[in-house]
């Protein structure tokens, strides 16, 4: 069973291999923005509290500043908002703190990391993407484009790709040294789909309810199991023996 094809970015490398990078959808992006926005919010909150602790008459001090200081302050405030996104995207390989937390990164359309110009463009366009409120324009743009790009991404030629945490341990996990399991001599060779199915069952098995665990194990043994009846009965005797057999079966050719 296949789900609907997810949007992806195809990259042809000079090594003649096609990379298929999954594109981050609107949900990932909103969550990453929430993380970044709350980070900035708390930064200014803390800065404000520190300031009020040090200075009692905040309004008076602000009004007492000369024109140049006030101007610099306002310019500095805007610059930090914009610099935060651009500097972290350029220095940390397309990731701000929020993007890192969500495991997404900004890349160019050819899969390469963003440079200063591209990052500058896409973050300058936040001003328009934010309109009329809370990134409404950006959300519409992300829903309408195939690779979930907001206007700034369209202008800069960038998009966000997702990184998954994939555990290879399940392939190489050593079988527990228990009683010898019946060999599956004469059974058909397994396809990669069978291997994937059995391995995902084995990694989930410890968390399943006992009867479900036995039932699923039995169905898998039925699919990949030994052809003769008495070894089948031995395999199905307990959940442990079933799983030991399955593990030996998928790792059999080692």
């Amino acid at each position: 069973m296949r789900t609907a094809p997810t949007p992806h970015l195809d990259v042809a490398t000079p090594e003649r291999v096609a990379l298929t990078l999954p594109v981050a959808g609107i949900g990932y992006r909103c969550l990453a923005w929430l993380v970044d926005a709350s980070l900035l919010f708390f930064f200014w909150l803390v800065a404000y509290f520190v300031f009020t602790l040090l200075v009692s008459d905040v309004l008076g001090v602000l009004q007492g500043l000369s024109g140049v200081a006030q101007t610099l302050m306002v310019v500095g405030f805007f610059a930090t908002q914009w610099l935060y996104w651009t500097v972290s995207e350029v220095l940390f390989h397309g990731q701000t703190v929020g993007k890192r937390a969500l495991g997404i990164r900004v890349v160019r359309l050819d899969g390469a990391p963003v440079s200063v110009y591209e990052s500058a463009v896409r973050n300058l366009c936040r001003a328009v993407d934010f309109l009329p409120m809370l990134y409404a324009t950006a959300c519409v743009s992300m829903l309408l484009t195939r690779q979930h790009r907001r206007l700034g991404d369209l202008l800069a030629g960038t998009l966000l790709v997702r990184e998954e945490r994939i555990d290879l341990d399940k392939y190489t996990a050593a079988p527990e040294a228990t009683a010898p399991v019946p060999s599956a001599a004469g059974a058909r060779p397994l396809t990669p789909e069978d291997v994937e199915l059995v391995l995902s069952f084995l990694s989930r098995a410890p968390g399943l309810a006992p009867d479900v665990r036995r039932r699923l194990g039995a169905r898998l043994v039925e699919r990949v199991g030994p052809p003769d009846a008495e070894s089948l009965a031995a395999v199905l005797a307990s959940a442990e023996s079933t799983e030991a057999f399955l593990r030996a079966r998928v790792q059999g050719a080692r």
């Binding site: 990259v11 000079p14 090594e15 003649r16 291999v17 990379l19 990078l21 602000l62 009004q63 007492g64 000369s66 024109g67 140049v68 006030q70 101007t71 610099l72 302050m73 306002v74 310019v75 805007f78 390989h93 890349v107 359309l109 899969g111 390469a112 990391p113 440079s115 110009y117 591209e118 500058a120 463009v121 300058l124 366009c125 001003a127 328009v128 206007l151 700034g152 369209l154 202008l155 800069a156 030629g157 790709v161 990184e163 998954e164 994939i166 290879l168 399940k170 392939y171 190489t172 060779p189 397994l190 990669p192 789909e193 994937e196 391995l199 998928v250 790792q251 059999g252 050719a253 080692r254």
Partner: protein, 330 residues
Amino acid sequence: MAIPLPAYVARRRQDWDALQALLARQRAGTLKLDELRTLDTLYRRASADLAHAQTFYPGTDAHRFLNQLCGQAYAAIYQPPRERWPAVRDFFRREFPATLRRERGFVGASAALFLLGIVLGAVVVLWEPRGAELLVPSGVRHYVAQGRMWTDDILSVAPPNSVASGIATNNLTVTIVTFALGLTFGLGTLFLMVNNGVHIGAITALCAREGMVGGLLDFIAAHGPVELSILVIAGGAGLMVGQALIDPGELPRGQALALRGREAVKLVLGCAPFLALIGVVEGYVSPGDLFPTWVKAGLGFALGALFWGYLLRAGRTDAEAAGMPADRAS
């Protein structure tokens, strides 16, 4: 026939783990030269493994893992050239002015729109004084009616919503929004340029009617030339984006947009330090009676001349000086 997947993973996993570790070190910036060679070798091996997995084990986690691993290694190995300080220097010495000269058509169009707005605003207010109620903000009208400049209060402590920081915010917002609204097929930029022109024209005309044009000149003379130039340049950048959307030429619209967006943002980024500089002038020199009008006017004229002299002369090549149209074609 391919060997079973677990056996394959077990055999090749060592290399993949090594590649992952090297990539982590590359990101941290602690990679040595001989490790770089290993990285290259391991990446090529992983690429071959990915091709193998695509053929024999498609749709498995091992395939996805290799895909992601190669994607990370690809991004680490085929990096665009990094911009460093020499690149920044080169940008301001040559690239920014050259880009501006190359796109002078757009900057010219933006300036024309702005002038059109000024003329419109001025004509309306001079022709029909009540038009000022429509075009001039009520706060400004209030001051003018009292025969005072609204900018006189900037250095005093009275109003907390100080005009100086308001103006600085305004400059920055207007510059960014003018550029970014190019994404509305240039219509937003067009509107903003004309609208800003109308405002300035209307205020000037109102001051002229009330006999306060001297006061207005006194305020805007020092920073006006450069600041309005920056606004016009940002408008030109917005128009570039709009033009790429309306008429992408031979490229698909998306590609044309990305290409022109990169050029256009150079104009905006190039203006940024000048905007900061002129903000200082505007906050410090322009308001109040600290400097006599002729000093302000002289300073404004000199800054404007320097700015445009820099834009038109810096990094000029011989081909450009000879007036060859080579740049326009590219």
